[in-house]
């Protein structure tokens, strides 16, 4: 549970020495409570006070890092159950499974497939974040080394205790996730994790047992752990994940204060896909998947992209001139706002009309048409200026500009103050654009 400023203040020297850069100890305490400063930024704090407070002020869910320099995946440190309460912080990683039964060539080919699974979507890069390599093969160390060498992303190593010992040792500088310790292997694997400083996945039949195991591993010196689940009974896993996260975030249950990994298996690739999306929405930090086919990955990566969007920050698209299809000098010109939902609605409908077009995006600070107008974030003057900046008049021969149906009031001013002499009032709703173009753009 996060500490209040007052609780932190009580343990500070209360000398207002200003060495931390703040005028008073109270001001500093408020910054620590808001997670803007760390306790260690107080040079005068006593060791006792620091250790007492740092335990209590640590984030309720640990941040876990898999991998090393250049190839890293960081997740965890989530703070809320629902995205509207604040936001989800570290997007779920998708890990492609590479079975130990594959030959070296087959395994290398699947790693290559994972390396290539990088997509661009609405200006962001979406990709598979991890390679999950089975090492119960004839030479676990060689398999791990090969994967470490060929993979562009960090590794999860999966296997029996003996295989893992050999494999993890071979690539320990790569800090792979050790997958996974249960009651029978917790001692051996916790020692391996502590010795190699690699994170450890831990699994158990119940949350009570799981908490016992993470405590055991912690006592052996393992700091970074991942709670591990599967989809044998997906409904039960959803409930268990929810309870674990609530216990960590709301009741400061340190033993469960780790992110989760869910091994996704289903009767068909399609069901697997749907289950992966389900656990992307509800509380998996890593999804272990069999298929790294684009048709399965893309919807999943898009779900993660959507769910981890900051709900308090309006989604915007880059303010520029967009081309839909291959427009030419006779193609229609629209303008709209940089609120991504508005832009993508317009773009989608223009595309549906099958008439190539230009869309000039005006910076409205992420507000839709009506809100932008009400909030004075868009004006005819701003539209004219943006059209000029984007050189739209050079792209087309005509001087017809289609404006949003909610802004008919802009027509006269745009016609009077710019070269756009024929302003056409478009539909109010994007969904009417195809019919509008069919009617008005011949």
């Amino acid at each position: 549970m996060a500490l209040t400023g007052m609780q932190i203040y009580k343990s500070l020297p209360k000398t207002n020495c200003k060495k931390c850069g703040f005028p008073t100890c109270m001001a500093f305490a408020m910054q620590v409570a808001a997670k803007q400063k760390a306790l260690a930024d107080c040079p005068e704090i006593s060791d006792d006070a620091q250790s007492a407070l740092s335990d209590a002020s640590a984030p309720p869910m640990k941040l876990v890092k898999i991998g090393a320099s250049g190839k890293e995946f960081v997740f965890g440190q989530e703070t809320v159950m629902f995205r509207h309460e604040e936001k989800f912080h570290n997007p779920t990683g998708v890990a492609g499974k590479i079975s130990a039964s594959l030959s070296d060539e087959e395994a290398a080919a699947k790693i290559e497939q994972i390396n290539k699974a990088v997509f661009q979507r609405v200006g962001e890069e979406l990709k598979v974040s991890l390679c999950a390599v089975g090492v119960d093969c004839s030479d676990p160390a060689a398999r791990a080394k090969m994967a470490a060498e060929k993979s562009n992303v960090p590794l999860i190593l999966m296997g029996s205790v003996d295989s893992l010992k050999a494999a993890v040792e071979a690539v320990k500088d790569q800090k792979p996730l050790i997958y996974q310790a249960d009651a029978s292997s917790i001692d051996a694997l916790a020692e391996l994790a502590a010795a190699t400083k690699a994170p450890l996945a831990v699994t158990a039949g119940s949350l009570e047992e799981l908490a016992d195991l993470t405590k055991k591993a912690k006592d052996k010196g393992v700091e970074e752990m991942v709670l591990s689940f599967n989809t044998e009974k997906p409904g039960d896993t959803l409930r268990t994940l929810t309870i674990a996260r609530r216990a960590a975030l709301k009741k400061s249950c340190r033993e469960l204060g780790f992110p989760a990994i869910v091994d996704i298996n289903g009767a068909t690739p399609e069901v697997e896909g749907a289950l992966a999306n389900t656990f992307a929405a509800k509380y998996a930090g890593i999804l272990l998947v069999n298929s790294v086919e684009p048709c399965q990955l893309l919807p999943l990566l898009t779900t993660i992209q959507n769910i981890y969007t900051d709900p308090q920050k309006p989604n915007t698209v880059e303010t520029k001139l967009y081309e839909v299809g291959q427009p030419d000098e006779n193609s229609p010109v629209f303008f709209t706002t940089n609120f991504s939902l508005t832009y993508f609605s317009v773009e989608g409908e223009v595309e549906r009309s099958k008439i190539p077009a230009y869309i000039c995006v005006v910076d409205t600070e992420g507000l839709g048409v009506l809100n932008a107008y009400a909030g004075d974030k868009i004006s005819a003057e701003k539209v004219v200026k943006t059209l000029q900046e984007q050189g739209v008049a050079d792209k087309v021969k005509h001087r017809k500009l289609i404006i949003p149906g909610y802004l008919p009031i802009f027509r006269a001013e745009i016609e009077e103050t710019s070269e756009w002499k024929e302003v056409i009032i478009g539909p109010e709703l994007a969904s009417k654009i195809p019919a509008f173009l069919a009617e008005n753009w011949k």
Partner: protein, 318 residues
């Protein structure tokens, strides 16, 4: 070690809404569909009851939608006839009910008459024995006429009629009260307007216990984050005792997903994205799986493969 108790104490129940009527109840359906009634969030049966599973309504339109050829092929030739399409949804795809859109009434499209639309509704009703959801074309003026006639031919069948908005709620209330139908209240991705429409329905004398709430659905990748969170917040508000937000929720996944590039565009347009014949149904299923977690009770769906996937998913995550 013991795990701290973390059960939420929700104070209220989501309204239980039944669609359809059997012969005993004055209709002709072989079974009725009940949604809602839960006292907790999706799947969280350790702290509340979930008496009714989410259901899938097969998307049917009176005119063939502008969908990619591979989707039309997956549905089959029956797509050309709303009655055959509806039958296939029930008999082969296993849909729990039918969501019939009278898109052909659109004045900027085929501009079909109210009488023609009512005939379609009557025929679809006869063709299947499951409950019906009936939507107009989205044009308020036209829908006022169309829905009146369509509602009359299914009087007593306890259909779910869509949709009542701020702009047309009086008409829809009048129609549904006259013919004893349930209402879909619609809002444009705005939780406050959603509540406002429900207040208007209540003020117009319509019982909110007969209302299914509908936030204009966003396809995955096109604002799903907004609608997901609205569904989730609305559900939590309802469980906390706000009677104005206690309705079951509908998501029109099939109506939205097939309009977006990501689900339909070929690999020539999206290099490296794989065959849309497989990507499309994955997209629809993913979107549906997301909305199930947000709190959707009725999913309208189109692609037979996506429908099958989500039927299995609903069973598994129960």
């Amino acid at each position: 070690m013991d795990i701290p108790k973390v059960n939420e104490r929700w104070t209220s129940q989501i309204n239980e809404v039944t669609i359809g009527a059997t012969a005993d109840q004055g209709g002709t359906r072989s079974k009725v569909i009940t949604v809602g009634g839960q006292t907790t969030l999706p799947g969280m049966t350790f702290e509340g009851d979930i008496p009714n599973s989410p259901v899938i309504a097969g998307y049917v339109s009176d005119v063939v939608p502008e969908w990619p050829d591979f989707l039309k092929k997956a549905i089959g030739n029956e797509i050309n006839s709303p009655t055959e399409w509806a039958q296939k949804c029930v008999q082969e795809f296993g849909c729990d009910l039918i969501s019939l859109r009278l898109n052909g009434a659109d004045p900027s499209g085929d501009d079909k008459s109210a009488a023609d639309c009512a005939k379609v509704v009557e025929n679809v009703l006869k063709a299947v024995d499951v409950p019906l959801i009936i939507w107009g074309c989205g044009d308020d003026d036209k829908d006022a006429i169309v829905l009146q006639d369509c509602s009359a031919v299914v009087k007593g069948e306890n259909c779910l009629i869509g949709s009542a908005k701020e702009s047309n709620y009086k008409t829809i209330v009048a129609i549904c009260k006259a013919d004893n139908h349930k209402i879909i209240s619609e809002a444009p991705v705005d939780i406050n307007i959603g509540k406002q429409v429900n207040i208007l329905l209540q003020d117009a004398g319509y019982d909110l216990k007969d209302v299914v709430m509908f936030q204009t659905t966003a396809a995955l990748g096109y604002g799903l984050d907004y609608v997901y969170t609205i569904l989730e917040r609305a559900r939590m508000t309802g469980l906390k005792g706000d009677k104005l937000m206690a309705g079951p929720q509908l998501a029109d996944v099939g109506g939205e997903v097939w309009r977006i590039k990501d689900a339909v565009a070929s690999e020539e347009i999206l290099p490296g994205w794989g065959d849309p014949e497989r990507r499309g149904p994955s997209w629809e299923a993913a979107c549906a799986a997301d909305y199930l977690q947000a709190g959707a009770d009725i999913l309208v769906m189109s692609h037979p493969s996506a429908i099958k996937t989500i039927q299995e998913t609903i069973t598994q995550i129960a």
